[in-house]
């Protein structure tokens, strides 16, 4: 399903002294099957944006289209539940939503609400548990006995078990150790590739955005500040610094390299290994002593 925002405005507590504009004239398009990173400073409207994607809130002005579903201020789709079954949202610190007696029951909670048959749910649990890197022994345990990282994985499994077509991730790796962060991001990326999941990733990590996204949207104070391919967006250091964002480490390195040796290596989202090779080649050409 495609996601389209047309001039979306969202105001919290409209007509009160606390009225607060969270989104302003926001328009963008996310084609089906792509991986989009939404980046912005705290308070830039990222979380508000996410809540539009499965109809938790509706725009104050403007229009949101998700596939055939249309959300405006006046009308909400009648089949809101169906929309929510097709758009899975992993909220920030999703482990806070766990409540059931066992891990298995908690994972089944979503699919059950959306009317999936018990047999099918069991099958999905079998698929989802290894996908998030948990072992089946945990299924009978209480989710509250698990470690923070495991709880996070259970919560993610609960969203994946619904089999959404669009996966929305709100800083899914916040508060995890570096290894857990990498594992979870890799898992989302392979899901995106294998199942053609449209993935919307909200993140603070420029590194993740560069590594996984096909398209980057930068938000500032509720409006779109920049949009484009990561290699185009992230090379504009000055523009990014203006909204208190840093460029990814790799690009910072390329800048420093150019200044030090007067040789530019273009950024094409190469891996660290490729980059090391290029640096080696470039220095060799320049005749710098090893």
């Amino acid at each position: 399903m495609d996601i389209t925002f047309n001039n979306v405005n969202y105001i919290y507590q409209e007509n009160s002294p606390f009225a607060h504009k969270a989104l302003e004239n926001l328009s963008f398009h996310i084609p089906s099957g792509s991986f989009v990173a939404i980046v912005g400073h705290t308070g830039s409207g990222k979380s508000t944006l996410i809540q539009h994607l499965n109809g938790l809130i509706r725009p104050t002005k403007g229009e949101v289209r998700i596939g055939d579903y249309r959300l405006t201020h006046a009308d909400k789709p009648k089949n809101l539940k169906e929309l929510r079954s097709r758009v899975g949202v992993v909220f920030q610190y999703p482990e806070h939503q766990l409540f059931d007696e066992t891990v298995e029951k908690d994972i089944s909670f979503g699919p059950k609400n959306f009317g999936v048959m018990d047999r099918e749910i069991r099958k999905r649990i079998q698929e989802v548990i290894p996908a998030v890197g948990l072992s089946e022994e945990l299924l009978e345990r209480s989710p509250f006995e698990l470690s923070g990282g495991q709880m996070r994985r259970v919560a993610i499994a609960g969203v994946l078990a619904v089999k959404p077509e669009i996966l929305v991730l709100d800083e899914p790796t916040a508060g995890l150790d570096p290894r857990g962060q990498k594992e979870i991001m890799e898992m989302f990326y392979s899901l995106h590739q294998e199942e053609q999941l449209t993935t919307v990733l909200v993140t603070h990590s420029m590194e993740d955005a560069v590594k996984y996204a096909d398209q980057v949207i930068i938000l500032n104070k509720g409006s779109k500040y920049m949009e484009g391919k990561p290699e185009d967006v992230f090379t504009q250091q000055e523009a990014l610094n203006k909204v208190q964002l840093d460029v990814p480490e790799m690009i910072e390195f390329l800048y420093a390299f150019e200044q030090r040796f007067g040789k530019a290596i273009p950024f094409k989202r190469q891996s660290i290994e490729q980059l090391a090779d290029q640096v080696y080649q470039s220095l060799k050409e320049a005749g710098v002593d090893e």
């Binding site: 809540q51 938790l56 539940k81 899975g88 806070h96 939503q97 059950k112 969203v159």
Partner: protein
């Protein structure tokens, strides 16, 4: 979040009412609540209404916001009025609705009680609208201080109050966050049979309790780590001080009360 009810909500501002000592505000509002019941004639009600309205205007909080915030209360006021019209049988019969006779006494009493009710709610909501919860707690602690003599744990009570007040918004945010997360997992809190909706509360309450207990434990630990030992010998960050404006307001209010007693009928 429920945006329609404003009782308990604080609206930041810089009016003289905002800057008054919270003890002054509590004292005056408390006495106002008592004196409202002494009014019994048109001019005496007029004086109190005028006082309430002027105070409201002075706060510079948008009138529309206050009135809209009292929407749920309007219902109660209208209900009281109607009840009085039908139940009170004093004075002369004004007219008949179906078989019910409407007495003039009923209309007058209905109006009086509704107005009293409105004044009470307006003036008490002004307290929370213009005073931060922390100020209110400080004032209460200060005003209850004499009870310390009879071994009443005033400081602990005030601490409990300020902690609970402090965490109300946090808990509300948490509730909203978790209910949104569960709604995304297909829970429907709003429609469906009553029994189903009760059941839908479980996935909301369990995580709320878990996080509330966790938070309480963390808070206790953090307080202990910073050497908190209770109220004894503890100095205050925010000192309450009676200023000229407080004295001025006391004098003004006394005049209002004198006016009330001069105009009421005996």
């Amino acid at each position: 979040m429920n945006n329609s009810l404003i009782i308990g909500q604080y609206v930041p501002g810089n009016s003289i009412i905002h800057r008054l000592d919270p003890r002054t505000k509590i004292t005056i509002i408390f006495s106002f609540v008592i004196f409202v019941f002494f009014a019994n004639s048109v001019p005496s009600y007029g004086i109190l209404t005028l006082f309430a309205i002027i105070t409201t205007l002075v706060t510079r909080i948008p009138l529309r916001y206050i009135l809209k915030g009292l929407t749920p209360v309007w219902f109660l006021i209208v209900f009281t009025f109607i009840l009085h019209i039908f139940v009170t049988k004093e004075g002369s019969v004004l007219f008949e609705v179906l078989t019910l006779e409407i007495y003039s006494g009923g209309v007058i009493q209905g109006l009086a009680i509704s107005l009293r009710f409105f004044l009470l709610i307006l003036i008490t909501s002004l307290l929370t609208l213009t005073t931060t919860p922390i100020e209110i707690t400080d004032a209460i602690e200060d005003m209850l201080y004499p009870l310390n003599k009879v071994k009443f744990p005033v400081h602990e009570l005030a601490l409990m109050m300020s902690i609970s007040l402090r965490f109300i918004p946090t808990l509300m945010q948490e509730t909203e966050k978790i209910s949104k997360a569960q709604a995304s997992r297909g829970v429907d809190f709003r429609t469906g049979p009553f029994k189903e909706r009760i059941k839908a509360v479980v996935p909301l309450l369990v995580p709320l309790f878990v996080s509330a207990f966790k938070r309480a434990e963390e808070l206790a630990m953090a307080m202990e780590a910073r050497g908190y030992q209770g109220g004894e010998g503890r100095s205050k960050l925010r000192q309450l001080k009676i200023e000229t404006r407080d004295v001025f307001v006391y004098i003004l209010f006394t005049c209002v009360i004198i006016g009330l007693f001069l105009t009421r009928t005996y």
